[in-house]
């Protein structure tokens, strides 16, 4: 996966795009092959090392946001640092929060936020630990198109401004169109690859594969 780039993984249902992401993120183990994150082979790591890896190198953004309902937005955002036993760097947290545009919603609970705002919290939470790679699993899957677009902008911004490496799994061609590189999967194999494609090209490529 290109460092400092946004890679999108696309494919029809059951093509293996989610499995690929799970394996890349160390959530699942491959039957064969190897995965390296930040120069470290992760397929052989035990639970403790994987936990450490997730703390230091991996960030997640989920389709259903997965925020903890009893914590405020701010507490959700700083949670990875709290868990790792680190003191949040106030300046950095503030920057991340203002990047995602949540400065005035910090005290709210997830239930008091809209879907788009919840996903912004999730993105801030993923970015706050400065991960080597950020995995986004259908980040727009549960949002309307306008909000989805804003979320994609945020991800794009993170890549452009801070060279954040992002791997995004999606089946939304518009989402994929913001990627630097798009991988198409079918039955577990990479069948095509596009660079900087527009959503029309993506749709065409998808039709090509499913046809």
């Amino acid at each position: 996966m290109g460092q400092g780039r946004l890679t999108a993984v696309m494919g029809p249902s059951g093509s293996g795009k989610s499995t690929l992401m799970h394996i890349l993120a160390g959530l699942d183990k491959p039957t064969s092959g190897s995965v390296e994150v930040a120069g470290e082979e992760i397929t052989t790591l035990g639970d403790n090392d994987l936990t450490k890896l997730r703390r230091d190198h991996i960030g997640f953004v989920f389709q259903f946001f997965n925020l903890l309902p009893m914590l405020s937005a701010e507490e959700n955002i700083t949670l990875p640092l709290t868990i790792a036993g680190e003191k949040p760097d106030a300046g950095w947290v503030e920057q991340v929060v203002s990047d995602v545009g949540l400065t005035d919603r910090l005290e709210h609970r997830p239930a008091e936020l809209s879907g788009g705002q919840q996903q912004r919290v999730a993105i801030a939470r993923a970015l706050v630990s400065k991960p080597t790679v950020l995995f986004a699993d259908e980040p727009t899957g549960n949002l309307d198109s306008t909000t989805g677009h804003e979320i994609l902008e945020l991800l794009r911004q993170a890549v452009d401004e801070r060279e954040q490496t992002i791997v995004m799994v999606t089946h939304d061609p518009r989402a994929a169109s913001i990627a630097d590189r798009i991988l198409f999967l079918d039955d577990g194999l990479i069948v095509r690859e596009l660079h900087g494609a527009s959503s029309h090209e993506v749709v065409a490529a998808m039709e090509d594969i499913t046809a």
Binding site: F60, F64, N66, L67, L71, E75, I83
Partner: protein, 1005 residues
Amino acid sequence: MTRFALRGILGRKLRTALTAIAIVLGVAMVCGTYVLTDSITAAFDAIFASTYRNTDAVVTGKRAFSGSQNGSSASPSFDESLLPKVTALPDVAAALGGVQGDAHLIGKNGKSIVFGGAPNIGFSVDPTQPRFNSLTLVKGSWPGPGQLVVDESTAGKKDLQVGQTIGVQSRGPVQKFDISGIAKYGAVSSIGGATLAGFDLRTAQQLFGKTGQLDQIRIAAKSGVSPQQLVAEVAKILPRDTQVKTGTAQATSDANDTTDFLSFLQKILLAFGLIALFVGAFVIANSLSITIAQRTREFATLRTIGASRGQVMVSVIVEAFAVGILASLVGLFFGLGLAKGLFKLFDAAGLTLPNNGLTTETRTVVVSLALGIGITVLASVYPALRATMVPPIAAVREGATLPSEPLDAIRGIWPAVIATAVGVVGLAASISLKPATTLVTIVLAVVFLVITLFGCALFPSRTVGALVSFGLGFASLLYGLFGSGLGATRVLLFIGVGVLLVFFGFARVATPLIPGLSSFMSPVARWSVFGLNVLVWPFWTFPYWCLRYGIWGPGRASKRVIAFVPFVLLGPVLLVVGIASTPSSIGLAVVGGLYTAMVLVVLVMAVRKRLTSWAPEWPADFPSVVPDRSTTRVGRENARRNPQRTASTAAALMIGLALVTLVATLASGIIKPFKDAVDQLFVADYAITAQNNFDPIPPSAARAAAKVPGVVAIASVRGGDGEILRNGQTTLIQVTGAEPQTSRVIDMKWQDGSPTTIDHLGSNGAVISKAYAKDHDLVVGSPIVVLTPSGSVLALKVKGIMAPPTGGSPFGTVTISSSAFDAHYQQPLNLFTFVKMRGGVTDANTKALDDALKGFPNAKAQTRQQFKDNQIAGFTTVLNIIYVLLALSVVVSFFGIVNTLVLTVYERTRELGMLRAIGMTRRQVRRMIRHESVMTALIGAALGIVLGLVLGGVLAFRVKEIVFAVPWIQLVVFTIAAIVVGIIAAILPARRAARLDPLQAIAYE
């Protein structure tokens, strides 16, 4: 993580509260027990401190041995000539002689004033020596000849006034006294149900039949003389049959009996508290397991953002810890209230305990908190381990999947066998070996018990593990019961460990049985709910519906008003039902209460509707009672779909019901042989006993009855303590004395000797029971030596061996002739008197006996049936107290059911929405939940009853005084109670489920 855990509690208030209640109740019981027993101890201490006020030394008669302190076995009296000798001693500043004895005050109804089993104490007071006086006058003056003072509380309760005349009975017939004053005992606010009567010395000596004698001399030392010096000085001049102790030592030895009783009471009550906590642990573990299953995604998310397994585990345990602290604190608080409640409970049961204000010791707080918090945390360990098994990938999976069991990784035959073996060996060793202290033993036993359970859980097959636990538990139980040479502590430990293992095993073994049991219980639940519905319908369902229809129903107001007509009309009808029911006061109270409740509920609704946006939910359909098959079917499937959860929920109730059933089984196993024994032995027409059925009474009552014309035969049984000497060892036994006509009123079976042997035992003949003869290889002709409390040594010869029925007999271990008894026991007392009359039981005979006993208000004549009922009455009272205490654990399991249902409803939100969307009405949703609840309760009841019967059977087999008798009526009552528990438990969860908006429920994520 701590913050996360604590926030979690706030986010799940209802669930947390329901879980916490289990601990609150258990802790309250433990704390209440300590507060109660500490308070009683403090009250007794205050009483004994008052008794020996300013007393440096006490001279009393010397008992040959210590035994039970009642009646004829109290310390013997001594000659009053000792008093001037003591007073003359150089270091004695003052000495006061006193006597005491039973003094029954006779109430206005001619009966003796008795509060439960509390004593009726009479004693001498000497106002000229105020330093020794334990009484303080409240009103009136100190008594002179023919006068007495009574205690304030009795005077208050029975409205006794200064100047009034009152009858008093002690040894002889009733004598009349004037109340000269009302007094208080020291600074003690309540001395329990005891009645006190103070007399001047001469009057008291005459009344108690102790003319010229004293029971004690209280001595004050001159200043500068220590009590020990004084005791040494007094000891020199004492005759052989007396002794002297310091005031403190005497108070301690007086307090011995009460201390023993209190420590017994404390242990029993603590046991009930621990049972409630144990059930609470089940409930907590179950609730936490369900909560954790529902929070899978939360934990997985935590893992994906870097939380380690340890952190997840800590978060769950911290949460439990916080709940434990909160619940224990609340429980502690409730415990104080409960202590008051227990005082009331015992009071209502006729056992008024002395009270001098509630005492809270540091120990109470420490133990209660430690137990409450410890058990909560312990119960959370397994669920917490389970939470660590949630893989991070669960964060991206659809829906919540159950994490695998933490033990799966190491599950296997060998680990299981090894862990179980280590646990069992450790358990056996820790109980059998001589420990440093009992506490160490208990701690070790708990540790190894946990290891054993862990081992059992490791078996690859759940059922096998459960059966192993069950089997081991039973083995331990049996060993505890039948093993020889175990002390009481070990027996109890083995039994306790056994019962715990059996419960665990049974709870786990029940899981595979759930589907089958559910199919069986579903129709039972359906029809029993139907039955209860039919019963409740006219009293609640219908009038309530009418009321609501009239106020909120559909249609024009003018039409709805018609609904009020049946509501109003039903009132008088139910009133008649209330009056007709027996007792009518209860019937009326129920009907009145229901109507008031209905109006209140509707009023509250009206207020809510006006003040908030809330609107009453209105199922307009007429309330029917017909069971709804389709909903009960879904309910049944719901109960079956997660057998483990249903089994754990039912297990909590199972424990409570098993114990209740066990108690009921044992009770009927005791009552039945007792009744049989009375039926066999009681060939007389009447029995004369004390008003409270068990106090011994003076023989003068029997002598009065003997004079009644028409008496064919009359015989009394005297009773007292004795010590039997065998091979240089002494054993405390009960000695009874039999009168010459005994064989005509008691039909005893004889193993050796003729039935009339007992009538003519002479001065040295004795009769013993078959069991005692067998245990000590005694035959007719064998010599036995018995020591009486006053120091007489009786050399006796066995003349007969009786074979009493299982249910017991009026006779003690050794029975001698009444003349021999009277010769060797000071102030002998009768346990029972049996009378045979010409014509048998007739109104005339009853009246003649009652008339003869008029002078003995503490005595009453009863027929055989009355005798049986009265003898059982005291036992039934104790039984009822036990039921009330066990009800606590049933209440805990009730909240367990509520909690599981609430969690289940939460978990099935989508599903419920779907059911509503496809046309299930709210009422159907409620019925579905209720059906599941009733089924769970019934399964728990069925398992508990079976287990209780099995345990009862084993115990009955072990204890020869108890036979195995199934208490059918009680079992039916328990089952109905379980169904009601199920119905009530479902109310809140069913309402929550019915309130779900189908659209939101489906959209719920």
